[in-house]
Subunit: 250 residues, 2 copies
């Protein structure tokens, strides 16, 4: 089972769009996937119109109000989801550095999935650190914009700290260029710099800027349900193929 946090504390770089559509793409390849929305803004939950008051969510699960089975929303055969709730914002203030195993402890009895993918808020707060205490892998969406590179320094520093103090297993195993517009000069500069630093961790597939991805979100559908012939669907299918080819960790 691969456990992956989709994380970049720089805001608006495509974390949710990547987490949701990659999870869907993997499930269409026959992988069993659990998508966890760890952002109180609930953007991943909205993206698949999966908010359901009669089922629990990540907040009720972490607080102990519901069991794991009672908290899982079934999107399709191969895709399950732990939706988010606005109440999750409260958890951040209740956690102390001593509670960082809250996610690890909660997920210890999670069923048999091939992938567990977390959509993270743009933050390096205690809830995100507790997620990094649990996962083995981090995927970093990078929007090739001017501010992209300096944000990565802070992110790498935080992940190094987690590896030394909390979770020796954690590794950055994927850099995903998102909202990619090949013609711009800044794009080439950022891609060259990131590839020089991360080498083979940078996926070859780039998620191109594609308005169909935005439209799909506004209809509460994955790109595959909305328009499977679109550039967005092709890019995410190709990305999922590369992710599956990486499978070495179980």
């Amino acid at each position: 089972m691969r456990t992956i946090a989709v994380l970049n504390q720089k805001g608006g770089v495509g974390k949710t769009t990547v987490a949701v559509n990659l999870a869907c793409a993997l499930s269409l390849y026959g992988k069993k996937v659990l998508l966890v929305d760890l952002d109180p803004q609930c953007n991943a939950t909205i993206s698949l119109s999966s908010a359901n008051p009669s089922v629990g969510n990540i907040y009720t699960l972490l607080c102990g109000g519901t069991s794991l089975e009672q908290s899982i929303t079934i999107i399709s055969n191969n895709l399950h989801m732990l939706t988010s709730s606005i109440d999750l914002a409260g958890i951040e203030h209740e956690l102390t550095p001593a509670d960082l195993s809250i996610i690890k402890d909660t997920f210890v009895h999670v069923g048999t999935y091939d992938y567990i993918i977390f959509d993270c808020a743009p933050s390096l707060g205690l809830l995100i650190l507790s997620c990094l205490t649990y996962v083995n892998e981090v995927f970093i969406p990078v929007q090739p914009e001017f501010f992209a590179l300096n944000g990565l320094t802070l992110l790498l520093k935080s992940i190094d700290m987690v590896r030394v103090k909390l979770n020796p297993e954690i590794a950055i195993t994927g850099i995903i260029f998102s909202m990619f517009e090949g013609r711009r000069l800044v794009t080439k500069e950022v891609v060259d710099e990131v590839t020089r630093h991360f080498g083979t961790s940078a996926f070859k597939t780039k998620i191109r800027k594609n308005v169909k991805l935005v439209e799909a979100q506004s209809y509460g559908k994955s790109i595959f349900d909305y328009d499977k012939e679109s550039i967005g669907a092709k890019d995410f299918a190709s990305l999922a193929g590369e992710v599956i080819n990486q499978e070495v960790r179980t």
Copy 2:
């Protein structure tokens, strides 16, 4: 003196671009402005290429390592800055809900400014809450995109909590439409909905999408220093004019 937090926990909506260029525009109108970069990503600091290791910053100030005078970087006669540092990320984990007056206590001796403007990280963590404990006003940049509206619910809830428990003075006094593209359908829907909810707090000036704003950042300049004839410069001059016309609080 007006104290304003530029805040929206939704990422990448233009907080830094608005905080930096509005601060510059106000200073060109003759107002004395202190711009505070409260994001460990240092994007506002980079935007004005103001990082200076021989001067203190908001981190050394909050930790008590430097005094206020030792921490201020002078950008121009009317524009001073408290730059950020990657170390600021550490403060978030050291704060407890009992320390929320850290910013209020630090700024109690701040000199005579007409405006103090905080560029906030995309978060509602304890450092941001301590900023909200201090300021009288909140400006919310809104990018008219699909996810814009649901993020506002969480933000309003947090500001209401601050008003009740920490700072009865705080009020939302400005909604700024940023990265505005008038032709898109989603834009009209979001603008109508936000204006219905916030009424006159929504500024008439919309900050239009303008590549010159991005270019200015990559050169470490405000839009006025980079290209004062650009759409971006005109929009921020017009926004600053509206902000000055609001002056009722001192």
